[in-house]
Structure formats: C-alpha cells, structure tokens
C-alpha cells in the first residue's frame, strides 16, 4: 500500500500538507456558535474539543500533580483521559506518514507508544515550576531523554524506522500555521509593527551576513537557524527555519539549547536593567518584547515591571511571532535558489527552485492565511479561531514537536552535538547578534514608544 500511496503522492511533504489540512478542518468542526439569548448580543463560542488534548499541569515537588489534582487543590483536573485521547489522535494522524515510509503496523504501534511515553515524561519534566517559570521548554527535555537512551543502551533495530523527527516537525508546522494570525499585527499599531517588523528582519539578515562573511561559519544552515531563533522568537523560529533550510537536527538542537539558556538569563536581567537605568517602563517593555527570544519569557519579564509593561512586551512579541511565517517562506525560497542538493550557487530557473522548495512550507503558509482571513470573509466570530488554535491544534502541535525532539535525541550522538559545543563561532554569533538586536531594538523602542507614539500608547493603556 505504501507504493500505491507513493504513486498518488510523489513527495512526502504533500502528504504532510494533506494530513495537516484535514486535521485543521476537522478541528474546526468541534466548535459550536450559540446565538445570544436576547438575539442582540454577540453570542458564545463553545468548543467540544476543549480539554480533550492533554496539557500537563505545573507541579512543585510531587510529579503526579502534573497528571491529576489532589483533594483540596486550588484547581481540579485529571489528565488521564486526555492523555489516552491524545495518544489515539496522535497515533491516527501520524499513521499515514508511517505507512508512506513503509513502517509495519506492529512496529508503528510499539514505536509511537514509546515515543509518546517519553514525550509525556518530557512534558512532566518541563512542568516542574522552577523549570517552567525559567523558560526551559519541553523540547529540551525531550531531546535530553532521547540522547540519554541512544547514547547508553542505543536504539533497537526495529525501532529505527520510527525515528521520523523531520516528518513530525513538518506536520506540527502545518498545524502551527493556524496560530500565525496576521490580524494580531495591528495590536499596537505603527510602533509595534516598527519595533517588530523592521528591526527583526534587519537583525536576521545582518547576523546571517556577519556569520557567513566575517565569522566564516562552515554551515550556512546553522548560521541561519541561530540568526532566526535569536532575532525572531526563539525555539519556534528555530524549528520553522530549521525545517525550511533543511538544517541538521544537531544544528537545530544546538540553537535551541543556546537560546533557552540565554533567555533564562535575559528574562531576569533585562527588567532589572530597565529599573536600574530608570528607563521608561513602556519603552523597556517594548525593548524586551523585541529582544528576549521566547514568548513566555517576554511576558514574564514584562510582569516584573507591572501590568502595563507586561501588556506592551507581550504585544510586541506577539507581533514578532507573526513574522515567523514570512521568515520561514523567505528562508525556504532563498535556500531553494541558493543551495541545491550539491550546495552550489549556480543560477537556476523557476522550475528548479520549485523542485527544491520544501512543499510543507506551503501548508504552513496556507494554514496561516486561511485562519487569518477566512473567518472574516465567512463572517465567523474571531473567538472560533482563538479556541481552535489555543485549545486543540496548538496543544496537538506541541505533542508533535515533543515527539519529534524525542526522535531527534534518539538518533543523535553526543559526539556529533559536542562538535558544535566545542566550536566557538556559533556561540559568538549568538552573542554578537543578540547584542546587535538589543541595540537596534532599544533605539527603535525609544523612538516609537518614548517619542513619536508615546501619547497614543499611554491613551491605549488607559483603555
């Protein structure tokens, strides 16, 4: 049957786009729009899929708190059924990809169960309150668990076909597209767009150029992944651009590790710099929103300066988040033009660019455009997109990324990863790029939030 599937769908990426699109369409079918009782108000949006995909809870000293609440707890929950349900759904949506690769059903079900078990463990590790609130995300622990197993007892032969991290990442990215909503761009108006959409591409392009021309980094893809995760939005940008430029799994893992480490430091240090220097808190918040890699860490750093700062910092980051779609598309196109199978830089035609272009990126962009604009065209309330992406497709995408990183860890050798740790250039690139990003963002935040639009932002905050 896998041969028949290959005849119908000649490239795996198209199958991923098909499966991802079907999942997204299906997820919208769980939403019910109830009209207002008086017939005048907005009505309510109910999502029957809400709570079905497991989201493990935060815990302090008892890891079982991640799964179920104890009597007398502030919040009552039990993630047992959602975990079982998530396992079934993930197994079902990944099955066509396994079939395409010719994996036997018995190997698949054992393999996906092991990946899911390790993924659950990674989510539990990431849910420990100190780990979680210092932004050490689940992908790091998924990778660590995989690395630990593959570098001690190794991976059994029958399990090897299940190490399909690239396919899981691509499928996760198609679902992720639905969360990249262009409507979020207007959250702060012109100052937000300038701070996020002008500074970020400048930092990305100059850092990439610096890595290639000045530092003369051997791997352009590692150069690009570091530039993107440092300038756009950390882990998610590293994953998206890494897939778009076909970076090695060790390169993406390295970039994510460095980013998470420095994010944990910056989220604590940057608010203190704002306070010590007596910088205007709104300017400082916009600055942090533009420079701290990870979205959650930006909200946390903003909260340290107060509610208004948290709102501004989060909004700047959210606008920057939307840029991820454009960046992934741009990187995929550039890579298709510049680097073929032979990594040459010969002049090529449109046909060749199309052949090299990673097709899953079209699914990612298509989902982003559809979820950004179709609701407006069809007159669907905005709450529908919010609940579909936050309560169903978002958590499902997290599971796919988590399983992908477990698989990456399981096929990575410590020695291969160690090469990047020993080499100083990638770290130097990150540090110089981050310093450059902080400088440019500060200048733009001061100009936009401190001078040109200061009054308008103050008015917006009062509302």
């Amino acid at each position: 049957m896998s041969d028949a599937l290959r005849r119908w769908i000649p490239h795996e990426d198209w199958l991923i786009v098909l499966v991802g699109s079907l999942v997204l369409i299906l997820c919208t079918q769980f939403v019910r729009i109830k009209p207002a009782e008086d017939g005048i108000g907005k009505g309510t949006v109910e999502n029957l899929g809400k709570g079905k995909v497991a989201k493990l809870e935060q815990w302090g000293s008892d890891p079982t708190d991640a799964i179920y609440s104890k009597p007398g707890a502030k919040k009552s929950y039990n993630q047992g059924w959602p975990l079982a349900w998530t396992f079934c759904v993930v197994s079902l949506i990944v099955a066509p990809l396994a079939k395409y690769k010719g994996i036997r059903p018995s190997e698949y079900f054992v393999g996906i169960a092991v990946l899911f078990l390790l993924g659950t463990l990674a989510f539990m590790m990431a849910g420990q309150e100190v780990i979680k609130q210092y932004n050490f995300e689940y992908v790091l622990w998924a990778l660590l668990l995989g690395l630990l197993i593959s570098n001690t007892v190794g991976v059994p032969k029958f399990f090897r076909p299940m190490l399909m991290g690239d396919s899981l990442i691509k499928l996760g990215l198609v679902l992720f597209g639905a969360e990249v909503l262009f409507g979020k761009l207007v959250a702060l108006g012109v100052p937000g767009i300038f701070t996020s959409w002008v500074v970020t591409p400048i930092v990305l392009i100059t850092t990439y150029w610096f890595g290639q021309r000045v530092l003369k980094m051997d791997s352009p893809s590692l150069n690009m992944v570091i530039s993107a995760d440092m300038s756009v939005c950390g882990v998610s940008a590293a994953i998206a651009t890494g897939a778009a430029c076909r970076a090695k799994r060790e390169e993406v893992s390295y970039a994510i590790g460095v980013s998470l480490l420095f994010t944990a430091i910056m989220m604590v240090v940057q608010p203190r710099i704002v306070l010590w220097t007596g910088m205007d808190k709104i300017v400082g918040a916009a600055w942090m929103g533009g420079t701290i890699d990870s979205t959650g860490a930006v909200a946390a750093a903003g909260a340290a300066l107060g509610k208004e700062a948290e709102t501004v910092a989060s909004a700047v980051k959210m606008i920057q988040n939307v840029l991820i779609g454009v960046i992934a598309f741009g990187v995929a196109t550039y890579w298709s033009m510049r680097f073929g199978d032979s990594s040459g830089s010969e002049r090529i035609g449109v046909g060749e660019i199309w052949k090299r272009f990673p097709k899953f990126v079209l699914g990612f962009i298509g989902a982003s455009l559809a979820f950004s604009f179709l609701p407006g065209v069809l007159g669907v309330p905005t709450g529908v997109v919010d609940t579909v992406t936050k309560d169903v497709t978002g958590p499902m995408r997290m599971w796919l990324f988590c399983l992908a990183f477990v698989a990456f860890g399981l096929e990575t050798n410590f020695r291969e990863l160690g090469k990047y740790l020993k080499e100083g250039k990638p770290l130097l690139l990150y540090l110089i790029g981050q310093a450059w990003s902080m400088l440019l963002s500060l200048a733009m935040a001061t100009l936009m939030f401190g001078y040109l639009y200061a009054d308008r932002i103050q008015e917006m905050m009062k509302k």
């Binding site: 990431a126 420990q128 001690t152 979205t295 340290a304 997290m398």
Partner: protein, 69 residues
C-alpha cells in the same frame, strides 16, 4: 570470538548502567534539587509572581500564553 562476545556483553552492561545512572540523576534533580531551589526566596518570588499573573514563562508562542487570547 569468545573475547569479542564478552566485550559486547561488557559494553551492553555499561550501557544499561549509564542509562540507570542517567535516570537516577534526572530523578535526583527533579525530585530533590529543583523543589529545593523552588523554596529559595528569590526563585519563590519569581514563580509566585508568574503564577499570580497567570503567566506561562515556558510558552513557545503567544497562543500558549493564557492571558493573551
């Protein structure tokens, strides 16, 4: 031949031992070190502030930040 098989056995044993030690280290860090760190005043303040504000600092994207819908 016998030497080769004994070497293989030893390497397998050291592999399992490494895995066991790795998991033991993870358990120690997550069940002892991190909860201890969580009781440290500076860390506790940070965690409590974010819990009160309903912020998930581990969020990868804005859709994972609870209060940013």
């Amino acid at each position: 031949m016998r030497e080769g098989s004994s070497q293989e056995k030893n390497s397998r044993l050291s592999g399992w031992l490494g895995l066991l030690l790795g998991f033991a280290a993870i358990l120690w860090v997550w069940l002892v070190v991190l909860p201890g760190l969580g009781r440290w005043e500076v860390v506790r303040e940070h965690v409590d502030l974010l819990d009160r504000s309903n912020i998930n600092a581990g969020a990868m994207f804005y859709t994972e930040v609870e209060n940013q819908r």
